[in-house]
């Protein structure tokens, strides 16, 4: 079973995302900010990270930059999931090492579609 680290400071969003991801057969780990997420990655690298942008302590962008410098940190597929829905943010995220980008609001279809494109899920 693949593992997805869900990083969001909103407990509600984490819960919604977890429900969608568990239905897609992912094992979920949660983190409330970038620094907690980095801790979790150091313990065990997940296959995927679903990542909010704006969070206290360490934001999503700083997290992905830090993750990509970690040993084995190039492996996880990082999918942003944020209300920052403009081209400038998207290109900045991609430059920093993100693989995909979900603009909130999201639903199960969008997560599934994005996870298929990055090869995390086989196309149905």
């Amino acid at each position: 079973m693949k593992t997805c680290l869900v990083v969001d400071d909103s407990r509600v969003i984490r819960k919604v995302a977890r429900k969608i991801l568990e239905e897609l057969d992912f094992n979920c780990v949660e983190a409330a900010d970038g620094s907690e997420a980095l801790e979790a990655c150091r313990k065990q690298m997940p296959d995927a990270v679903l990542l909010d942008w704006n969070m206290p302590v360490m934001n999503g962008l700083d997290f992905v930059k830090a993750l990509r410098r970690e040993e084995g940190g190039d492996k996880p597929v990082v999918v942003f999931c944020t209300t920052e829905n403009d081209m400038a943010h998207i290109t900045e995220a991609l430059r920093a090492g993100a693989d995909e980008y979900v603009m909130k609001p999201f639903d199960g279809d969008i997560i599934e579609s994005k996870f298929q494109q990055t090869g995390l899920l086989r196309a149905s």
């Binding site: 998207i90 995909e100 494109q117």
Partner: protein
């Protein structure tokens, strides 16, 4: 609840106009699709809309009803396999056959709001360097003016651009305007949209190297499927292709097309051996 005789009337009229087979047990489908139209046309109810269509046997209303009943569901790179086949199989074979010159003509039959032709245009744009001096023409047709208008504009919601479209392609091929995303003008200029009912004659359409006709024939009865396939074949170049939906087949319906071995959903003209890309 809509009366059975109303359902039958509407189903018969939609069938006559579009080939769409609507079984009479689909009352709920009728209700959900006609309610917005009834509202837009200023009728208090679906019954009112159908009564007006009956009373005046109003062609415009009946067309609007037919359009509302058709399924317009589509998204970018839907099912992905046909697009992989287009890039890895069809393009290399055709460009070899055409010797890197001339024009390759592509027809998206029943293109709905345009996601399929624009997906093909993205691939062509990305493959440009490998395609030499080949020229491409994408003709995209649908019977429904409302979806064609949207297709022509090339403007999609945030929700639509997140289904099937990888983020790199969104960045590369779209301009943002608030929460709307518009296909860039170089791609829009690659696609010609026009109104075409698959039941009407194809005069003036010309010959195509590739025809995409996906998830359309599933709504037709066997006779209509056969007729449409025969007429599509007449527009297909001898070494051309037909691409159908994952759940569709020509087997038992057409002598003119034969499956390309090992390539699901891909058909060539019968009696023409297909060279394969790899």
């Amino acid at each position: 609840m809509i009366k059975t005789e109303d359902i039958q009337y509407v189903a018969a009229e939609a069938y006559k106009r579009s080939g769409l087979v609507l079984s009479t047990d689909k009352g709920y489908l009728l209700e959900s699709r006609l309610a917005p139209l009834a509202r837009a046309e200023g009728f208090p109810s679906i019954e009112g809309l159908i009564a007006a269509a009956r009373r005046e046997s109003a062609d415009r209303l009946l067309w609007a009803i037919t359009e509302a009943l058709a399924t317009h569901e589509t998204f970018f790179f839907r099912d992905s396999t046909p697009f992989d086949l287009f890039k890895q199989e069809i393009l290399p074979v055709l460009s070899r056959a055409r010797g890197n010159s001339g024009t390759i003509r592509i027809w998206c039959a029943a293109c709905s709001s345009g996601q399929e032709p624009y997906s093909l245009a993205m691939i062509l744009d990305e493959e440009r360097a490998r395609l030499g001096n080949l020229r491409f023409e994408i003709i995209a047709t649908d019977m429904a003016p409302r979806v064609l208008e949207k297709a022509k504009a090339g403007v999609y919601s945030q929700f639509e651009v997140q289904r099937g479209l990888p983020i790199q392609r969104l960045v590369q091929h779209f301009d943002q305007n608030g929460d709307q995303w518009r296909v860039k003008s170089n791609l829009r200029s690659m696609v010609t949209f026009q109104k075409q009912n698959l039941l009407d004659n194809f005069n003036g359409m010309g010959t195509f190297d590739v025809i995409f006709c996906r998830n359309v024939l599933i709504y037709f009865d066997a006779d209509t499927k056969k007729r449409v396939l025969t007429r599509l074949a007449a527009q297909t170049a001898t070494d051309g292709y037909l691409v159908m939906g994952a759940a569709e087949t020509v087997v038992g319906l057409s002598q003119d097309y034969a499956p390309v071995e090992g390539r699901r959903g891909l058909y060539g003209r019968s009696g023409v051996a297909k060279s394969q890309a790899a």
